[in-house]
């Protein structure tokens, strides 16, 4: 009897898990909008029909199928949900700063679906964010690509499960400061950073070979082959070498960017995206030729020495040199107005509307390996959609509604005062944060430095 009970309980649990594994999908008809498809130009007075989370049709005069809600978007702009290729929103911790290589760490394990930052990003039209490990290590942890399904309490529900694996790398000041200056181990310099990379990949090749030798000889008659000891860290590096993981590398200076391009070419790695890349403009032809491009700030500079020789024209120079370029936030504040950040490429370099919009939609989608599913308004793609009052590249634009998989998660007209999902029982006074504290690339490493506060205010 007891055994049966256990069995039934287990069965119930499993079936519930199965039921919850289905993330919500919606249907909706958006009528009479100016549709900014990004990949197929701008369509006036056009309707977008969404069925079961997928864009079914984009055309004029579509009539709503039975039971499908219609939204009148006359005079409004409809664009693909915005994608942020660099974020730390919805993560409980950011840095595992204990070793120059921590490739085995996964951000999927620390996703926090309760963080209000998810809702605030939705209110800025952002439907997908790349939740990244911090920049304390040369080879950091594996990132998670999130879909902003606000209201889900299961971390698994806000992870985009069919997105490819990506991993964080970091060059320059941050890893050399944490390990060299903070802990007295390599790397203390940009030379050391290169050594860490080459040593790590070479060890991974040896590890891979050891397994291959074992696999090929274990079934031989009389084989005495013993399996090598499994090592998650090295296995992850092998996966990078095998092209199963996209590298997203924190970088600022042109010389360090060039160094990693050379290392990648030597090891046959092609899935490489540079993050921040403030001096990317100096090696734009190399980035265009050998990598999956750069994901940059619109105008941040001078907060640290590495970014003193920056230019707000960085994105435009990269774009015009043929590098795949996206604009990201790395900030719980900036993520709320990426459409405005993209607009800055028109002030600094005169990019066209489509080029500017691509930088926050299809381009980051390509860099995350999800452009077959999202990043533009095309039939068959996920219905991740943002509706704006005013053209999204105008500074006066106001986001109105945001959909993920056809489900509306933000509506300015239904936005209540308090959007929290969970309220702390232990905090009597709600925290009021008055400082700028939204830059979290170096979070969890502050104990290594005397100037923790200064660091928090300036590090990105």
């Amino acid at each position: 009897m007891n055994k049966l009970n256990y069995f039934l309980t287990a069965l119930l649990g499993l079936s519930m898990q199965f039921a919850f594994a289905q993330t919500p999908k919606g249907s909706v008809l958006i009528k009479n909008a100016t549709v900014l498809t990004v990949t197929n130009g701008t369509l006036e007075n056009t309707d977008v029909l969404v069925e079961d989370g997928v864009i079914k049709r984009i055309a004029q005069d579509i009539s709503a199928p039975n039971g499908v809600e219609t939204i009148d978007a006359t005079g409004k702009y409809v664009m693909p949900g915005i994608i942020d290729a660099h974020s730390h929103v919805a993560l409980d911790v950011v840095n595992e700063a204990t070793n120059p290589i921590v490739a085995e760490v996964r951000m999927k394990d620390v996703v926090n679906p309760y963080e209000i930052g998810i809702y605030r990003a939705l209110a800025g039209g952002v439907t997908i964010s790349h939740a990244m490990h911090g920049s304390a290590n040369v080879i950091g942890g594996q990132n998670a690509t999130l879909k902003h399904r606000w209201g889900s309490t299961d971390p698994a529900d806000i992870i985009m499960q069919d997105a490819p694996r990506t991993i964080k790398f970091a060059l320059g000041e941050n890893p050399t400061r944490v390990h060299g200056r903070g802990n007295g181990i390599q790397p203390r310099s940009r030379m050391g950073v290169e050594a860490i990379l080459r040593n790590g990949f070479s060890e991974a090749l040896q590890y891979k070979k050891a397994w291959e030798t074992y696999e090929s000889s274990k079934d031989e008659r009389g084989s005495t082959a013993v399996a090598p000891k499994y090592n998650e860290r090295l296995q992850t590096l092998v996966d990078i070498l095998d092209g199963k993981i996209i590298i997203h590398c924190h970088s600022y200076r042109a010389d360090e960017i060039y160094m990693l391009i050379n290392v990648a070419r030597d090891f046959g790695i092609t899935k490489l995206v540079f993050q921040h890349t403030n001096e990317g403009f100096k090696v734009a032809p190399e980035i265009a030729e050998y990598t999956m491009g750069a994901s940059v700030f619109a105008d941040w500079w001078a907060y640290k020495f590495e970014v003193y020789y920056s230019t707000a024209f960085n994105a435009a120079i990269l774009q015009k040199n043929g590098a795949l370029t996206s604009i990201n936030s790395d900030s719980a504040e900036l993520i709320r107005h990426l459409y405005h950040e993209a607009g800055k490429t028109q002030r600094y370099g005169g990019l066209t509307d489509d080029e500017a919009l691509a930088m926050i939609t299809i381009n980051p989608a390509k860099q995350l390996g999800i452009d077959d599913k999202v990043g533009s308004l095309e039939e068959g793609k996920h219905a991740d959609i943002a509706i704006f009052e005013g053209h999204p590249l105008s500074t006066y634009a106001v986001p109105q509604m945001t959909f993920v998989d056809g489900v509306k998660y933000f509506d300015i007209k239904e936005d209540p005062d308090d959007q929290r999902q969970r309220i702390s029982a232990t905090e009597t006074v709600e925290p009021i944060y008055l400082g700028h504290e939204d830059h979290r690339c170096m979070q969890d490493t502050e104990h290594l430095f005397e100037t923790a506060n200064a660091l928090f205010n300036t590090e990105k």
Binding site: S394, Y396, T458
Partner: protein, 433 residues
């Protein structure tokens, strides 16, 4: 002999371009003054409406004439057909020129050691050649308040024009003694003090402030009566607030602190305005009733509380203005003060409206700082701080075509632009490898 010398000199002078070419290529464009006529634009005066097909005549650092039929006699004519002219924007709170690289302590000069240092002068620390200054002014921000940071009375802020080789050339005629009102909020995620600790520290800070103020009053009264006082520069500076010579700029943000600050200042007969005021919308009526003006911002900021609507920082300026508060806008930034127009645009879109948003970065700021006779609008006799743009400069797609500060025509160049010019088409390019 004399003639020979002259001949030799002329020969030397004729050779000079060749000598110069040998070592230095290209020419450096400097700001230059003169008589300029900005012709046929849409002139947004801010205080006297919008004038179509109008022109502005500048000479000797001043706006000489604004109107439709101005003689171009002797002036360098700049055709502004199809463009807009606005007064230069004023950022009411920055650390521009006081820091070069944020994370390099050696270059950070906006905060001094000590809690009571009102005699620290922003004008002393402003570096006229800071890289961020030319980066800022090409965006149309011509004038900024540079504000010391840190303790209870961290120093004296100064208004500067973004042109000049010395702080005195830059000084735009306004100073204010800064007070950081005791803050009952958390300073950030890393601030792990308990609620009780925060409360106690806030109360003690307020008590200290009261005692200090009493001292300053005594100091002022004694010196008024001609007493011989010991050298006490901190008190001398605070006495300037008590005498009305300088205004007090109170940085205050949390709603409860704003209420306390209003109460604190009630019985003190001094010139005062608030800065920051990020939770002003919660107590807007009370600020309006107290008749205190505010310099608020940044507008593009996170809500102060987890429970707040996502758009509270965008809507804050509009809500205060609606309640009757005179509002100016600041970025509170150093290297990205150039984003002031975008902060203003966000305030405009979320309730303040375009017209009021423009006032918030021009005439309101000038009035609050006491320099509206010189700055903040396009009027005859005022300082020639002007910008010419292809369209509304609050839009990112707008291009700023001309900037004039204190009558100087500003070269539209800076490091960001020079790097663009150098690297857009690289030589050698990739193929040279």
């Amino acid at each position: 002999m004399k003639r020979l010398n002259q001949t030799f000199l002329i020969f030397l002078m004729a050779m000079m371009p060749i000598f110069a070419m040998a070592q230095i290529d290209g020419e450096f464009v400097k700001p230059r003054s003169g008589k300029f006529l900005l012709q046929n634009a849409t002139v947004h005066t801010i205080t006297n409406g919008v004038l179509e097909n109008a022109s502005v005549l500048i000479e000797g650092g001043k706006i000489l004439q604004v109107g439709t039929s101005i003689s171009a006699d002797g002036a360098e004519v700049i055709d502004c057909n199809g463009m807009v002219i606005y007064p230069g924007m004023i950022d009411g709170g920055t650390t521009l020129g006081m820091v070069e690289v944020g994370s390099v302590a050696e270059t950070v000069d906006y905060a001094e050691i000590g809690n009571i240092t009102p005699n620290m002068q922003a004008l002393t620390t402003v570096n006229p050649n800071a890289e961020a200054i030319p980066v800022t002014r090409v965006s149309g921000v011509t004038t900024v308040m540079s504000v010391p940071q840190g303790g209870l009375f961290p120093g004296t802020a100064a208004l500067i024009n973004l042109v000049g080789y010395t702080p005195d050339q830059m000084y735009a005629g306004a100073k204010a003694v800064v007070m950081n009102f005791p803050n009952s909020g958390r300073r950030g995620r890393w601030d792990r003090r308990s609620d009780d600790e925060i409360k106690k520290e806030t109360e003690k800070a307020l008590k200290d402030a009261n005692e200090l103020w009493q001292k300053a009053k005594t100091f002022h009264e004694l010196s008024e009566k001609g007493a011989e006082l010991e050298y006490y520069p901190e008190m001398e500076q605070l006495a300037k607030v008590i005498s009305g010579e300088l205004p007090l700029m109170i940085e205050v943000n949390a709603a409860k602190d704003i209420q306390n600050a209003i109460k604190w200042i009630e019985d003190k007969d001094v010139k005062v305005f608030f800065s920051g005021v990020s939770e002003g919308w919660r107590v807007a009526e009370e600020i309006a009733e107290a008749g205190i003006s505010v310099i608020t911002g940044p507008i593009q900021a996170l809500p102060t509380r987890q429970s707040d609507r996502y758009d509270t920082p965008y809507a804050n300026a509009g809500k205060m203005a609606k309640a009757g508060v005179k509002v100016a806008i600041r970025t509170n930034d150093s290297e990205n003060v150039r984003n002031l127009p975008f902060h203003a645009a966000y305030a405009a879109a979320y309730g303040l409206g375009k017209e009021e948003a423009w006032k918030a970065v021009t005439i309101n700021a000038a009035e609050i700082l006491g320099v509206s006779d010189q700055l903040g609008s396009i009027e005859e006799g005022k300082m020639a701080n002007l910008i010419v743009a292809t369209e509304d400069p609050f839009e990112t797609r707008a291009q700023i075509m001309h900037v004039f500060i204190n009558g100087y025509r500003i070269p539209l160049s800076n490091r960001h632009i020079r790097l663009y010019q150098e690297f857009l088409e690289r030589s050698p390019d990739l193929k040279a490898n």
